[in-house]
Symmetry: C2
Subunit: 358 residues, 2 copies
């Protein structure tokens, strides 16, 4: 068992932005909540899947909403606690561990504040190995794990418990309720045992995020290229280097939707890339050919500093490198592709691994 302290939190915050695939909500906001909790209660215990007791009671705790709204309205840690309390009351037992639902963006660290408040550890495991825009899109869904009972808590003091027939219904109804109550809520969901967590979850995403964050920090200090370091360390693929030529963005049904256009520079001069996003970057088209798509991770990094720039914050004129990292192997299985591939999001083409496309 390790302890998640402020230094580790700093690295995870940077690295989770890379795993965010352009979405997942601004990790800086999650960091603020987590740092306040660590400063108040001390470092939070962080256990690996291997250390997790078989009879552990684990739940995901996360924020749901449009990243664009998150920036304007910082979520409150007490609502994360309220969601977990509500789920415990409904189930009639207490959770022993909290896990992040996604390793990308804000939600990599949203479990920290409620874990600190409850005095329970966090598990270094998540349900995506990245960020995805819908809460049914988690590896437990591939094993028949149920999102519900699921509890939601909003900033107005409203609470909800959902029991749905499918995980997609949790997403549909939970999101509608979230939009109705102001586009941001916390939820506690996917109650599971330690045995189930070990089978269902992606292992060690916080360790991976911390490694990515440290890599960027070190490369900067050494004046080497953080982008190169990430590509080398993570079997990544460079998609394009260039300047943001235009961004179109709108909040729609509780998501931040749109596309960013990159005009190539240097070795990519003359090339154009379109990055399509629904909270997360889902598809990268280079000169109108698909060269990367969900479930692979697509990310834009500030070219010089390697600073991850999410879809929500990308602006005209930014100099970026777009890179792709392979998605978790379970997402690349036929069942994983069916759940998380491009067709799931309404795109009319088949998934192919980024390393085969570029």
């Amino acid at each position: 068992m390790r302890r998640l302290d402020e230094r580790l939190l700093g690295d995870i915050t940077i690295g989770s932005a890379v795993l965010g695939s352009g979405g997942g909500g601004d990790p800086y906001i999650g960091m603020l909540l987590a740092r306040a909790a660590i400063r108040e209660s001390g470092p939070v215990p962080l256990v690996s899947l291997a250390e997790l007791p078989d009879d552990a009671r684990v739940a995901f705790v996360a924020a749901v909403g449009a990243p664009g709204v998150l920036i304007e309205k910082i979520p409150r840690a007490e609502d994360a606690v309220a969601a977990l309390d509500m789920l415990e009351r409904h189930l009639g037992y207490s959770f022993t561990h909290i896990a992040p639902i996604e390793a990308g963006g804000l939600n990599a660290v949203t479990p920290i504040a409620p874990a600190a408040h409850k005095g329970i550890p966090i598990v270094d495991a998540d349900g995506m190995g990245r960020a995805f825009p819908t809460l049914d899109l988690v590896t437990p869904s591939l094993y028949g794990g149920s999102a519900t009972p699921m509890a939601l808590a909003d900033e107005h003091g409203n609470r909800m418990v959902l029991e749905t027939r499918t995980n997609l219904w949790s997403e549909v109804i939970g999101r509608a309720a979230t939009v109705a109550s102001g586009c941001i809520q916390f939820f506690a969901s996917y109650p599971m045992t330690g045995v189930q967590a070990r089978e269902w979850l992606v292992d060690a995403p916080l360790t991976r995020a911390a490694r990515l964050g440290a890599l960027i920090r070190t490369a900067r200090a050494e004046h080497s290229s953080p982008v190169e370091a990430i590509i080398e360390e993570e079997d990544g693929v460079r998609l394009i280097e260039g300047k943001i030529a235009s961004v179109e963005r709108r909040t729609e049904r509780g998501w931040t939707m749109g596309e960013a256009v990159v005009h190539g520079t240097g070795p990519d001069l003359g090339r154009t890339m379109r990055l399509l996003f629904q909270n997360e970057y889902l598809v990268a088209l280079r000169d109108e050919n698909v060269i990367a798509s969900t479930p692979d991770i697509i990310m834009t990094l500030e070219a010089e500093t390697g600073e991850p720039i999410p879809a929500e914050e990308i602006r005209y004129g930014f100099r970026v490198a777009a890179v792709a990292l392979p998605g978790d192997e379970r997402w690349r299985s036929p069942a994983g592709i069916e759940l998380s591939g491009p067709r799931r999001f309404g795109y009319d083409f088949d998934y192919a691994p980024v390393e085969a496309l570029v």
Copy 2:
């Protein structure tokens, strides 16, 4: 204690359409559900507020959704039972009685099937004395009664428990969830004791509906005017007699919205009336002057037969009499008008009792 049998159900069905103020959902559909339950389990006990034990556990059970969708998709009695089951499970006790949330339309009789299934009585008391388009608009709201905990159940097998800060939040979130799951759900809400029910609810609306239904039935049999009989019996006011010249109707945010225009005939020749509705008729304008508005009950009846014609079913060419009945005295109080008067629905004029306007 009386028993609610098929004959009484028939009269209530007609009368509840009158109290529906043009909305509340087609009572015929509620009648079908209730009749099937009575045929299977026998007549359902019907107790008055005076007979209700002080420690009774009472809840409203009702359908929520757009009347236009209700007609296409008949709701299932088992979902009403499921909503009540879910609320009982959440509260940890069983209900002893079910009451209708509204006496107008479908929901006057939706408690019958779950009451038959549970083997418990119905209370002859409701939260509106009519129908209203939102579930916070009930007399318990005037006494600080809470809509939650509230349980909802949809046809897909999805269940939800809500605990909201205000009754309006129950309406907002509950309706968003209802729209997301297909525009029709059952809910169980406003858990209250017998003492509270006696203070909070409108007394004997089913008796009133049955009397109205019998009045129409008798007048028809005697070839006298059902419209005259209703006006006389209920201190009603005749608004216009005429032909429907146009109807505009749309489903919006889970409601059936629109207006019907009546061109006067006979003594009203040359007059024009506009009836504005949001599920229910809310405002009647005669020659562009307001002559009746919520919380008073506005209803259109087929001129000859007295058949109540809800806003959902009114069509070009129908010959109708529009009548208004005074709303419950609590709705006419300052607090009642604030909650249920025309300004609540976005109209920019003050309420005045129909008998003062005509």
